[in-house]
Amino acid sequence: MRSGNYKESVAELIVLSDSAIVWVWSAILVLLLAAAPYLLNSYALSFVILILITGTGALGLHLLTGSTGLISLGHVGFLLLGAYAYAVPVAKYGASPLVGLLLAGVVPALASVVVGLPSLRLKGLYLAITTLAFSFIISHIVLQMSWLTNGARGLAVARPELFGIDFDSDARFAHLCLLVAAATLFAVLNIERSRVGRAFMAVRDNDIAARTMGVNLESYKLRAFMASAFFSGIAGALFGTYLSFVSVDGFPFLMSIEALAILIVGGLGSTLGAVIGTVFIVLLPEAGRVALSLLGANAEKLFSTGAHELRSVLYGVVIILFLRFEPRGLAGLWRDVKRLWVNWPLRF
């Protein structure tokens, strides 16, 4: 019987997971997700796709807000930039979708340097407001440059064809999203256990102490911004292609709030939390709709007329309740459940 969890080398300490069971379950989850398009109807599949795309974006914000502790209220700006960086070359100039996806990551990453530069001097609230300002400026610029972006009319984007595979159907597109989301998750997990990731967390926990230990604050904050914007931009491009239409109205300010809600509900600073939070927040409006339909036809009618408002109310209430009663989020609850399972009937 195992009496404890002993680590004898650094490699063992930073390995992604030392438990074979976790690997097996993760593999089963990936297989299930890969099989999902063939098992689920198209309505349920749309939620799977949304979860995968939102998860990619949430992981991007997680690198910045969760790991590095820099609050961003303007993440929708990066999503928007990514969507346009994909749509403009692909739909307007006929570039290859691969180039488009690359640009969808690189353009927001470059733009994030512009936002990141003031962040070197700003902290907390001031930074949050700068990012907020940035997202408004971005959508304004996109609307103004109508010779490039078609302004308020938006751009229609076809689903891509990559390596000879046509991703036009929802089933194929779900596979593309799964690939991107899994790659992002791996990238984020690996960044977090590298030197760079440890520096991010040091900056989050105490930036003055981190600086004293030789962490270059400027460089690492900018890197966090760039990595975060890169992943979010790709999520934005996927979202645009999923809807087959990219416009400024498709990326409302509420998306920034939604992204923060995901991190808070999941548990700030935890990668697992970002994933669980995504599932929770994406399914929340649907769960609300089902709960209201149980209350009767009148309540369901309210949902169809005020769907957007009720969704916002749900996000807001969930944010407030989680911060009030479970600041560690769903990831914290999950940890408690695991500990209870292992140690029961002992408490520790």
Binding site: I71, L125, A133
Partner: protein, 290 residues
Amino acid sequence: MQYFLDQVISGIAIGAIYGLVAMGFAVIYKSTGLANFAQGEMTMLIAYVAWSIAGAAPGGPWLVAGGALAAAVLLGLAIERLIMRPMLGEPVFATVMVTIGLSVVLRSVILLIWDPYPHALDIGVGRDIVHVGGTGMRSGQLAVIAALLAALGAFWGFFRYSRVGKAMRAVASDDRTAQLMGINAARIHAVAWVASSVIAGVAGVFFALLYDVSPNMFHLGLKAFPASILGGLDSVLGAGFGGILMGIAENLAGGYLAPSAKEIAGFVIIIAVLMVRPFGLFGERDIERV
């Protein structure tokens, strides 16, 4: 030159409203140390209540003013008691996120209760034209500038001389030490929320008088943010003047560059200001000790 003057004067009038909302931010920041992202929504909610009162009981301006004032006091007390007080002692990030959650909830609840169309708040005052230095102004615009100046003066005196105002500053700087000195921090927070909510209400009713009540009114909060940042989040007086500067800058950008530049002029300005002075124009420099 006349065009320039017109732009500046109407900029001062709208800037006075921004200034009032920004003062609301600053009062809360100064006494509780957190930024209230729901300020614009509180402004909007009270304006809607005033509009409903004016529609239900056409009893003239005093009834509307009294009703809006009562609503503002109740709103401030309710938010503090039900939502913010349980968060006392939590990290700043958590409390700020709670206000963001609150703003989303308030905005949507307003849309669910009232309709999404703009309405004029017409209570028979504030619409007549007064001539000032060759340009016509509505009396409501003059009144809002007077209200801003009065509020600025009142808060300056309050923070400097009154016992409660000094207690507020003490709580903001370190609530634990302030409590050890016998200050009831929870009560101070309640006073701050009520004061901020009342200023928000004044701004909201004036905005509704001069323009209209609409679901887009929460943009006032987004416009007032740059104003309070410009003045420094912890400076109530700076916030008021920041609002006026912001109103003028916005109108000049809209008048001389492009009409759409009006919307983002404020945001461009704060990014520029924060690059040079990361603690605002009038804010106190934060010295960190390890």
